[in-house]
């Protein structure tokens, strides 16, 4: 494999020389130039953020690409297209020596250095005015210069290899060349063969062009430089998007690498990333060390801190938290030593996030004072990011700030402000990969405010517009989130379908697949719980609890569902026990206020179920006031519901009904079927109680009964949407009782029959 030169580069050089011969008419200048420039520029400068341009760019150019780009343009010579001229130029390289000459004459394309220009001026050497000379520093000029230099560096046999590859590369255009040039035949690729009248089968030809004559073709049209570009692109993709190498791509890479003797160091890094994503702990370690062993001292810069950074993240990913912490601390100190602000800021931010995810590991760090309190840290990070103009970091810091504010129950407006600022940054500074987290933050804040449709909308917006350029992780999170929302509305099938939308390639990454499976499990668990399929629920729960390192949110959801399971079983003490555990954990750390409220409400509900609702009164009330303070509306309505339950048990029916009726619209806005079903059922209970308080056979009683029936019906609808068997049955039972009270035994019987049907259907489903 050559270092830099490939047959396609020779083609580009030929086209450049055509261009400088002024045979390209002005109409074709711009397309030809843009074709040239798009292939001549180093890949990093072609807006590396812009993925579409990368995809449209081939690393290697086939001859056909040249044809496509040039055949439609007429040249300055009548009757000839530029493609014809290019063919002529290419086929004029009819021996290895001609190739040498071609490269020797390349310097004529360039402007002469100033000293020589001066000399020429003195000697009155006129330059051809028709000849375009490239400036030495222009992109094309530097490309030409580099090509020439690389050719000079080639050893003889490398040159021969390049020549042979070029012959093979050019071979497909022979028929077209024959059309223009009658004398051309199958051995006109080398003038020496023609002079000697050698045929392709000749022994001498066999020695020199043996592989060519026999049609053996190995894909050597890639130079080491091209390969490095490819690898860099690959790493960039893997790092930014967080996915793995597709299998087909991997095979292709292997084939490419096998043709060369030297393996680029970067390929170790690719293997490392791939192994890491696939969850292959030992081999990812092996490859990480291999890569950094080869590149520790490169271009007079130390990469020790990056090695450590990678190591730390790797450790953290595989759950070795303490090791990760020590590695990260060393990273920070090394980065400080080497004045590598980028690395330092990144690692500090990582450490902060790590601390958020694993507060229990952070004691040591807190004591050492690497990071101050959270707020201080964020302020520091923000300042640093601004200083070093690391906009991505600044944007994520702002989001973290918003998140911190929310979980502390601070002002919602402030959180919004942060989000908007981050969004502004993302747009103005083109921080494409932070958009995902910003959108999901927005979605969650709307969710907390109880504006479900907005929350849903943000998610959809993100999935529609930004999937291509965001890290896969964000996409997976967003998909799971929206699936959960769907499940909340009882649209299980849709939710499951949504989950299936996730690309299979994505799930080859261990972390993503874990996250995805857990969410899928959550949805299924919910469904099983609602269907009263407790055995299946337990099985799913056991599976969910198996993987060790899940996010705190997921963990919380699983626990609440476990509690729910126990409640449904009627095992209240067990449920209480789990709840207490959870609550104690939450009070320790600086837990999310939403979770704390949720736990409180849950407690009140368990008391309610256990038949001692008054015991939960203070808890419910506290939850309600907390939720109100933090503007956590869904939690507030739930808490209010719990309070009303207590009120109902205290026979304060009218107050309960008033309260419930006032929250009803908001509750419906939340689009949480469970919540609405519960609330409707409570409202029905309140009306029922009020009916009980009214005199029998009077109008108010009737009215209250109808209202109760009405609410029971709505609650039933909500429950049936959720496929909640228990809820449906309960409602049916209540309905039957009311019918019975109304003295309508037929209807009551109907309801009773329906009740039995539901029960049977649920049994059958199991």
């Amino acid at each position: 494999m050559s270092r830099y030169l490939t047959p396609s580069k020779i083609g580009l050089l030929a086209l450049i020389s055509l261009y400088s011969d002024s045979v390209v008419p002005s109409a074709a200048t711009i397309p030809i130039l843009s074709f040239l420039v798009s292939h001549v520029l180093p890949i990093s400068s072609v807006a590396s953020q812009d993925k579409s341009s990368l995809q449209s760019r081939h690393v290697t150019l086939a001859v056909e690409d040249f044809q496509k780009a040039t055949i439609s343009h007429v040249s300055g010579i009548p009757g000839r297209t530029i493609w014809d001229l290019l063919l002529n130029k290419l086929w004029k390289l009819n021996s290895f020596d001609a190739l040498h000459d071609f490269f020797d004459t390349l310097s004529l394309l360039l402007q002469k250095p100033p000293e020589q220009q001066q000399q020429d001026a003195e000697d009155v050497i006129e330059s051809n005015p028709n000849h375009i000379r490239l400036s030495r520093a222009s992109p094309m000029g530097s490309f030409v210069r580099r090509a020439q230099l690389e050719f000079t560096r080639l050893q003889f046999h490398d040159g021969v290899t390049l020549w042979r590859n070029f012959v093979a590369y050019r071979a497909p255009t022979l028929p077209q060349w024959k059309k223009r040039n009658q004398s051309a035949n199958h051995n006109s690729f080398d003038a020496n063969l023609q002079d000697e009248h050698l045929d392709l089968g000749d022994r001498l030809t066999d020695v020199v062009y043996g592989e060519l004559a026999h049609g053996v073709q190995h894909d050597a049209s890639v130079s080491a430089e091209d390969l490095e570009t490819l690898l860099e692109y690959q790493i960039d993709q893997m790092q930014r998007m967080g996915n793995r190498l597709p299998q087909a791509m991997k095979a292709k890479f292997r084939a490419m690498l096998d043709t060369g003797v030297t393996v680029p160091n970067l390929s170790h890094y690719v293997t490392f990333l791939d192994a890491w994503r696939s969850g292959d702990y030992p081999s990812s370690f092996d490859n990480l060390h291999r890569y950094f062993d080869y590149t520790m001292q490169n271009r007079d810069r130390t990469f020790y801190q990056y090695a450590l950074l990678n190591l730390a993240i790797l450790h953290a990913d595989f759950g070795c938290h303490s090791e990760a912490l020590t590695a990260m601390q060393e990273t920070i100190s090394t980065a400080r030593e080497n004045n590598d602000m980028g690395c330092l800021n990144y690692s500090l931010s990582w450490l902060y996030h790590f601390g958020k995810a694993h507060p229990e590991e952070m004691d040591d760090v807190q004591k050492r004072g690497v990071l101050g309190t959270e707020k201080e840290t964020l302020a520091f990070l923000k300042a640093k990011a601004k200083e070093a103009s690391m906009w991505g970091l600044l944007s994520t810091s702002l989001l973290s700030e918003a998140k911190l504010g929310l979980s502390n129950g601070d002002s919602v407006a402030q959180a919004f402000e942060s989000i908007v600022r981050s969004s502004h940054l993302n747009v103005t500074k083109d921080v494409a990969n932070a958009i995902g987290s910003q959108m999901s933050m927005q979605s969650s804040i709307f969710g907390r405010l109880g504006v479900s449709c907005q929350a849903w909308l943000s998610g959809e917006l993100f999935l529609q517009c930004y999937t291509d350029q965001s890290p896969v992780e964000d996409v997976v999170h967003c998909v799971c989130r929206s699936a959960l929302l769907l499940a909340q509305r009882g649209r299980y099938e849709d939710a499951l379908a949504r989950m299936e939308e996730v690309d299979e390639e994505t799930l080859r990454t261990l972390r993503h697949s874990q996250y995805w499976t857990s969410n899928l499990g959550l949805i299924k668990l919910r469904r099983h719980l609602h269907r009263d399929n407790l055995v299946a629920a337990e099985a799913v729960l056991a599976q969910l609890q198996a993987p060790p390192s899940l996010g705190q949110d997921l963990h919380f959801s699983i626990l609440t569902l476990e509690i729910d399971l126990n409640v449904r079983r009627g095992d209240y003490s067990k449920a209480m026990e789990i709840l207490e555990n959870l609550a104690s954990k939450l009070t320790d750390g600086e837990a999310d206020i939403f979770q704390r409220i949720k736990v409180m409400t849950l407690k009140a509900r368990i008391y309610d179920k256990a038949g001692i609702p008054q015991k939960g009164f203070s808890v419910a009330l506290r939850a309600a006031s907390l939720a109100h303070g933090a503007r956590l509306f869904p939690a507030l309505w739930e808490a209010v519901g719990a309070v009303c339950g207590v009120l109902i048990s205290l026979k304060e029916f009218s107050a309960a009904a008033k309260l419930l009726e006032s929250i009803m619209p908001h509750t419906l806005e939340c689009e949480d079927c469970n919540l609405s079903a519960q609330t409707f059922s409570l409202l029905a209970d309140a009306h029922m109680g009020m009916a009980g308080q009214a005199k029998a056979e009077t109008l108010p009683r009737k009215e209250q009964l109808t209202r109760a029936l009405d609410n029971i019906g709505r609650s039933f609808d909500e429950f049936s949407r959720l496929e909640d068997v228990k809820g449906q049955c309960e409602m049916m039972a209540k309905k039957a009782t009311i019918m019975h009270l109304n003295g309508d035994p037929v209807l009551a019987n109907d309801c009773a029959a329906k009740y039995l049907d539901i029960k049977r259907a649920a049994k059958d489903q199991i």
Binding site: F156, V160, D202
Partner: protein, 634 residues
């Protein structure tokens, strides 16, 4: 073959050797010469039929030694020379450089050191009066040759290793093969022993060959020749011996003198042809010899190569090129002598073809000195001298005795103006082969660049003696004579060059490059004539000078002026030199008063457009002169 695979063989051989030895073999290695008869009756441990040697005694020995021989041969194939030698000759032979004097002479008046060493190695040497005794164990000649040759090779290897990098500090050409002394001594002893026992008839020629090499390395050339001739008598098909013999011949006369001593067989003919070619004898007789041989071997590529080289030496490049080209087509994988082919292409400036040749050679083996030379020549033709030097160095790393590369590298260094390196390279080339006139010539050129003309003269003379019919050599000699103020010799040399020029008719020597337009056929070189004229002028022989100047002018028209044939060859036309001559003549005529002729010449000069300014000035002067004598008459 892969060395590792070869090792498997010697493992097998070693295993077969490690079998318990039969009793009889233990006696056969007894170095006591008296016991040799005693084991004749003992049954040999291995059947004699294993050896194909017709000599019964040798065959018996060979059969006995077979396992050991196989082991040694395997070691040799793996290039573990010392180990190979130690299989048969366990004791260490004395080392040290071989002095140019004969080992014979040395043993007669041994130095103290040599004596000590001799005693170490040959315990049988009791007194100085009986210097020659066989210190070697009694072995078959085959085994003996193998082990001795291995010793020689190990010495060569060590020598190469000591020299380190090409033209590096340790690579002075002064390192020698340290095994030579021991080998010479042992062989001498062995031969004396054989002679004493009257067994000389049983000699096979191989040890003679080795002895010849050793002697030749020790610069004892006459003795070496005798031994090599003896060797080729005994074993005519050992081409190595012929090659060694060829290297010892410095002049054609020497070849002729030894011809009578050579055996009368086919190999001698081949050798005679080869030696003639190497001595640049591209004469009719040589061609006839070649024709005779080709009748026997019509398809021989070797002979064809020789033919091509003969044409090359006589500067018939087209002919040589076509032969080489045909050879290449017949066997594309043959790299031998491709370096010569590349030289031919170089001189013909056939760059695409040279590149193609390099491609062919590279496809077969890129680590052959010949291949590297071809590539080097290509780069040299492209004026990429650094790269060319790199490839020549590579060739030399592969084979230090690759003469071509030394010379060519010298040329490159001259181009790069690195005279010291050039001189050293040429010197090494000359050391390897004293018959390489290009190296001698190059040395001369380099010293000329350094303005050491007397020194350069010596080298030019050597070159001229090797190529007596090359005008270039004589021209160089002549100009050197001129520079060191010996005009008479200079004129002689110039005349010689003129004669040689007509003899060869055409072409140029290698390295001059065909760039400076050589005169067409049958024309005397105006340059030489002009130079002769100048020398005569120096000697103040104006008339002589003038006549040579006239001759120079005459070359413009070409020869055969007198005959009115239609096949009048074209002359050189007006060149720089002839214009200079014309100018000189015009001035000369002006000085001696032939004004009309001077005027005519000056006008011609103006017409030709060369040195117009001077010519015009001269015309002005002429007019003035022409007018001034007229005015008084008026």
């Amino acid at each position: 073959m892969n060395i590792r695979k070869l090792r498997m063989f010697f493992l097998a051989a070693e295993l077969s050797n490690s079998l318990p030895e039969p009793l009889s073999t233990s006696t056969s290695f007894n170095s006591d010469p008296d016991s040799q008869m005693s084991d004749v009756d003992l049954p040999p441990s291995l059947p004699i039929s294993l050896s194909s040697n017709p000599n019964l005694e040798e065959a018996r020995l060979e059969a006995q030694e077979l396992p050991k021989y196989l082991l040694a041969k395997s070691y040799f194939d793996c290039r573990e020379y010392d180990r190979c030698a130690a299989v048969f000759i366990p004791s260490i032979l004395p080392r040290g450089p071989l002095t140019p004097t004969s080992p014979n002479a040395k043993t007669r008046t041994p130095t103290k050191a040599a004596k000590g060493k001799a005693k170490e190695s040959s315990p049988n040497t009791k007194t100085d009066s009986i210097p020659l005794s066989n210190a070697l164990p009694r072995l078959s000649q085959k085994s003996l040759f193998l082990s001795m040759y291995a010793k020689y090779m190990s010495g060569e290897k060590r020598k190469n290793e000591d020299s380190e990098s090409i033209l590096g500090p340790a690579d002075g050409g002064g390192t020698v093969n340290k095994e030579l002394v021991g080998l010479a001594r042992s062989l001498e002893g062995w031969f004396a022993d054989r002679a004493a026992k009257g067994l000389e008839r049983g000699n096979q020629g191989w040890l003679e060959y080795l002895y010849g090499i050793v002697l030749a390395k020790g610069k004892t050339e006459e003795d070496a020749k005798t031994w090599l001739i003896r060797s080729v008598h005994l074993c005519p098909f050992n081409w190595g011996a012929w090659l060694e013999l060829n290297e010892l011949l410095n002049r054609f006369e020497e070849l002729q003198s030894i011809v009578r001593e050579l055996p009368q067989n086919l190999m001698t003919l081949v050798f005679h042809l080869y030696a003639s070619q190497e001595l640049y004898q591209s004469t009719e007789t040589t061609h006839n010899q070649l024709n005779d041989l080709e009748r026997i071997f019509p398809e021989s590529q070797f002979l064809k190569t020789q033919r091509a080289l003969l044409f090359y030496h006589s500067k018939d490049f087209d002919e040589a090129e076509s032969i080489f080209s045909a050879l290449l087509h017949a066997d594309p994988h043959r790299i031998d002598a491709l370096d010569h082919y590349s030289n031919i292409l170089y001189v013909m400036s056939a760059r695409p073809k040279l590149a193609f040749l390099a491609q062919v050679a590279n496809a077969t083996d890129k680590f052959r000195p010949e291949t590297c030379c071809v590539v080097g020549n290509y780069y040299s033709l492209k004026s990429e001298h650094e790269k060319a030097v790199m490839y020549f160095r590579r060739a030399l790393t592969l084979d230090r005795d690759f003469l071509q590369a030394w010379t060519l590298m010298g040329h490159e260094y001259v181009e790069m103006k690195n005279t010291h390196a050039a001189i050293e390279s040429y010197r090494r080339a000359v050391d390897v082969n004293r018959k390489d006139y290009r190296a001698w010539y190059g040395l001369g050129q380099t010293y000329e660049v350094l303005e050491m003309h007397l020194y350069a003269l010596f080298y030019y003379q050597r070159a001229a003696s090797l190529r007596p019919y090359d005008p270039k050599m004589w021209h160089a000699v002549a100009s050197c004579y001129d520079k060191v103020d010996r005009p008479i010799q200079s004129i002689k040399a110039y005349k010689r060059a003129l004669v040689a020029g007509t003899y060869y008719d055409q072409g140029s020597s290698f390295g001059s490059g065909a760039t400076n337009g050589e005169p067409p056929q049958g024309v005397l070189d105006p340059e030489m004539l002009y130079q002769i004229a100048l020398v005569h002028e120096k000697l103040e022989q104006q008339d002589e000078a003038a006549s040579y100047m006239e001759m120079t002018l005459a070359q413009e028209e070409g020869p055969g002026e007198d005959d009115d044939d239609e096949i009048r060859r074209p002359g050189t036309g007006v060149t720089n030199i002839t214009s200079k001559a014309r100018m000189w003549l015009a001035r000369w005529e002006f000085a001696r008063g032939g004004l009309a002729r001077a005027m005519e010449l000056a006008n011609e000069l103006c017409q030709d457009g060369v040195e117009v300014e001077e010519a015009k000035a001269l015309i002005r002067d002429l007019r003035a002169r022409m007018e001034s004598p007229r005015s008084p008459s008026r």
